[in-house]
């Protein structure tokens, strides 16, 4: 139904796509996978009219089409749902669904009553219960994603492209999303599904196309492919090699019986945390588990002083840290690798060097002047130690790959010689190679005696990487898994148990 033939696209000489053939048939759910930089996003943007191919053709219903703008693709019946919800937060749900196609009264004005009624019907039919007159921005991310889907449904799309729609959803919301997707497929809509969470592919999709370095390397049904086989295609390696390497393996941990270096107690954040406490010993990796909105990120931010706490205390190496002050937390030896690399991490237009040295500026300055040589030495050490791939220390960070940007940020925090390292989703959105490196590094740091708090949405990463897992729900600690209970099954149970409790009680 929708296909590309020999599509090539390059940006400033870099080939993002090289002669890609891709075909989507009616009523199928087609997975599109590949490492970061493999060309998935570019292919999607070609299909949706954001980019135009340098050569090759896009065919829709057997006829060649040329989309100049996203609007052209939409008119043709191709809708897209993006990873970050691309709707307007200050407008109501109903307005978002009908933006650009509002029902009109006889006078040509927007018929608000009809719009709200139809919007309510639509979201209702998707199994979502929400006030359609509320501003979108006041709703949870999961609901926003459903609204995006409702918008796609409302235009009677014949193709729906979903670019990592689940990355910010809770398990339950993912279930709803998948139900709706299957429903659409049954109606003859073709769906393209992109996700980094490989497990989801087998749950949802019929076929898969694998891209690598801008080329299509495999297309086939998912049923005849196992996880290892898929990863082998993505990485371009033999299956035996991948199996030996083990994409998410952490080494042994050496936990010593020592006094905790981080001890947080009774952290209270308005509407977010209700008395969370944790302790971490030197050399220990503490995993923080929980569903979206359970307060994982809020907990580490509160410890770091980046989220105002109403009460509670944080002690580092026995000494109390002044609350709500990032500089004090830093000085006490706490570092936070934030989950949002772009918004809260890198300074895109500064060099690799300046990004690394940012948090230690006072330390490498004398009398208000920067000691360049000390920075050079520091940066040099970390570029080598973390194997950061940059043309030179003067290269702008924005030009690096996601994995290398992440390593630059890790270097920034290691420069501060932290005692406690809080890592919020350190491997999200980086390619498999860099991911393994980051995981190995975490292990290495712990071995050297650093106390690590690790947040991850990937169960494997948490179970294999952490010595102990604290499970949060609704801003409170609900469970702690250690020793024999530190397994995927137990973690799943803990998360699921939490969900049940929520449905029964739900009063706190």
């Amino acid at each position: 139904m929708l296909e590309t033939r020999g599509v090539t696209k390059s940006f400033g000489g870099v080939h993002a796509l090289r002669g890609v053939d891709f075909a989507l048939t009616r009523g199928e759910i087609h997975a599109l996978v590949g490492e970061n930089g493999a060309g998935k996003s570019t292919l999607i943007k070609v299909l949706t009219g954001v980019h135009r191919p340098d050569s090759g053709t896009v065919r829709f219903d057997g006829a060649e089409v040329e989309f100049h703008r996203p609007a052209d693709a939409q008119r043709a019946g191709i809708s897209t749902i993006y990873q970050e919800v691309n709707l307007v937060p200050l407008l109501s749900v109903a307005r978002n669904i009908f933006l650009g196609r509002e029902p009109r009264t006889r006078l040509g004005l927007v018929d608000v009553a009809a719009m709200n009624r139809r919007a309510a019907e639509l979201v209702g039919s998707l199994g979502v219960n929400v006030d359609v007159t509320a501003d979108l921005g006041t709703l949870g991310l999961g609901v926003q994603q459903m609204v995006a889907l409702a918008r796609a449904v409302s235009v009677d799309s014949r193709v729906v492209i979903m670019d990592e729609p689940t990355s910010s959803l809770e398990a339950k919301e993912v279930g709803t999303l998948f139900d709706v997707a299957r429903n659409l497929a049954a109606r003859g809509v073709g769906l393209v599904f992109v996700s980094h969470r490989l497990d989801e592919l087998w749950r949802l999709c019929d076929r898969v196309t694998v891209l690598r370095d801008g080329q299509r390397v495999h297309t086939g049904t998912l049923a005849e492919l196992d996880r290892l086989g898929l990863i082998a295609h993505m990485l371009g390696r033999e299956i035996s090699e991948v199996a030996r390497g083990g994409a998410t393996e952490f080494g042994e941990t050496h936990l010593r019986e020592q006094e905790p270096v981080l001890a947080a107690e009774g952290l209270e954040v308005r509407n977010r945390l209700h008395g969370v406490g944790l302790t971490v010993r030197p050399g220990e990796v503490l995993g923080l588990g929980g569903l979206l909105g359970s307060g994982r990120s809020e907990t580490v931010k509160a410890v770091y002083g980046a989220l105002p706490v109403r009460s509670g205390s944080v002690r580092v190496a026995g000494r109390r840290v002044r609350p709500n002050s990032v500089p004090h937390a830093l000085r006490a030896g706490v570092a936070l690798l934030s989950e949002d690399r772009k918004a809260e991490g890198i300074i895109p237009d500064l060099s690799v060097r300046d990004n690394i040295a940012l948090a230690v500026l006072p330390k490498v300055s004398r009398g208000g002047l920067v000691a360049e040589k000390r920075i050079d030495a520091l940066v040099d050490t970390f570029l080598r130690r973390l194997r950061i791939k940059a043309a030179s220390p003067a290269q702008k960070v924005r030009e690096l790959s996601g994995g290398n940007q992440q390593k630059v940020l890790i270097a920034r925090w290691l420069c501060t010689e932290p005692k406690v390292f809080l890592l919020d989703e350190p491997t999200r959105g980086i390619d498999v190679g860099a991911k393994a490196e980051v995981q190995a590094l975490i292990d290495e740091l712990a071995e050297q005696g650093l106390a690590v708090v690790l947040i991850s949405s990937e169960m494997d990463e948490l179970v294999e990487g952490a010595d102990r897992i604290v499970v949060l729900h609704d801003g409170t600690v609900r469970d702690e898994l250690s020793g024999d209970r530190r397994t995927s099954a137990a973690l799943l149970e803990a998360l699921a148990g939490v969900a049940e409790t929520n449905e029964e009680g739900g009063d706190d």
Partner: protein, 329 residues
């Protein structure tokens, strides 16, 4: 095994495109100098008496206020801010001189410059602590400030104090004091931006304020200092302008200066989106702006045409700087 997986490097741009990108970059960085040299050359060829001590001296003297204000503005723009109040601050400073001249030249000058610092502190507090957008905070100060200047100053007052007169018209080794002061300000600004911890922090905040906060940078303090510096420099420019004209006219002095200063900074290659400060570029931008005006005056081109020409130059300069790419708002 980590090493093996990590040997894949991100795709590198082939050399051909890299050189083209450098060309655009080069124009963006050096276009202002090229334009300045070209315009100088054109004037040498077509303007009578252009290459004379008197003409060049006059040009330098005339560029001083814009240059000093633009340097402060460049710092503010580097933080992704803007300061619309500079013109009004100049007027306030100039209006204060006749009021305090009775206490001596030095006191009068200090009071005037200090007033600029206070105004800057207000802007810095509103922006850094309260979180008001820079354009609105400084717009309010601009409107109120111009009113205050008029209240202090009333009508045009001439300044006869010998100290002030000397400051405005005297010179050292043949170089006017005002030019020396501007040079000193420029050198300090360059040093601050390129060598100091403050400068490093400033561009980091302009590049990504949230990330800078999380890296433990004293964001509020840096913003406060930046707006205070901008206010001090604007006030200094106001004092020098009043000293040169030996008069203070609170309704007119510094009018539209914010626009000239922003133009100079942007011409000089500092992006309005912050994260970079180009001091040398700003100096060249101010000189270019001055030379454009002067060229038009030399050739008796009326104000109207001059303004239209300036409009076209501004748009063209920004267009070149964006490298024909779409800029994010």
């Amino acid at each position: 095994m980590t090493e093996r997986l990590a040997t894949r490097t991100p795709p590198e741009a082939p050399d051909r495109t890299r050189s083209r990108r450098i060309d655009v970059d080069w124009v963006r960085r050096n276009g202002v100098y090229v334009a300045l040299v070209l315009l100088l050359a054109v004037n040498v060829l077509i303007t009578d008496n252009f290459v004379s001590e008197g003409t060049l001296r006059l040009q330098l003297i005339q560029v001083v206020p814009v240059l000093i204000v633009a340097l402060g503005m460049a710092l503010v723009i580097g933080t992704e801010g803007i300061d619309l109040s500079v013109g009004a601050v100049m007027a306030i400073a100039a209006a204060l001189i006749p009021l305090y001249i009775g206490y001596g030249t030095l006191v009068a000058v200090l009071v005037a410059v200090l007033a600029g610092g206070i105004s800057g502190a207000l802007a810095g507090t509103l922006v850094g602590r309260v979180g008001v957008q820079p354009i609105i905070a400084t717009l309010g100060i601009m409107v109120a400030g111009r009113g205050l200047a008029n209240l202090f100053g009333g009508e045009i007052k001439s300044i006869r104090d010998p100290g002030i007169v000397e400051l405005g018209t005297g010179s050292l080794l043949g170089i006017p004091y005002v030019v020396l002061i501007a040079a000193a300000v420029a050198a300090s600004a360059w040093f601050l931006v390129s060598r100091s911890t403050y400068g490093r922090r400033l561009v980091a905040i302009g590049g990504n304020q949230r990330a800078a906060e999380l890296a433990g940078l004293p964001v509020r303090r840096v913003l406060l200092v930046t707006y205070v510096l901008c206010g001090l420099l604007a006030a200094l420019a106001g004092v020098l302008l009043a000293a040169r004209s030996q008069a203070s006219d609170p309704t007119k002095l510094g009018l539209l200066m914010e626009l000239s200063a922003i133009t100079a900074v942007v011409l000089g290659g500092t992006p309005l989106s912050g994260g970079q400060v180009r001091i040398a570029g700003t100096i060249a931008g101010a000189l270019l702006l001055q030379l454009v005006t002067a060229t038009l005056i030399f050739h008796d081109i009326p104000d109207s045409t001059a303004q239209i020409a300036q409009a076209v130059i501004v748009v063209a300069a920004v267009y070149v700087q964006l490298g024909r790419k779409k800029a994010k708002r």
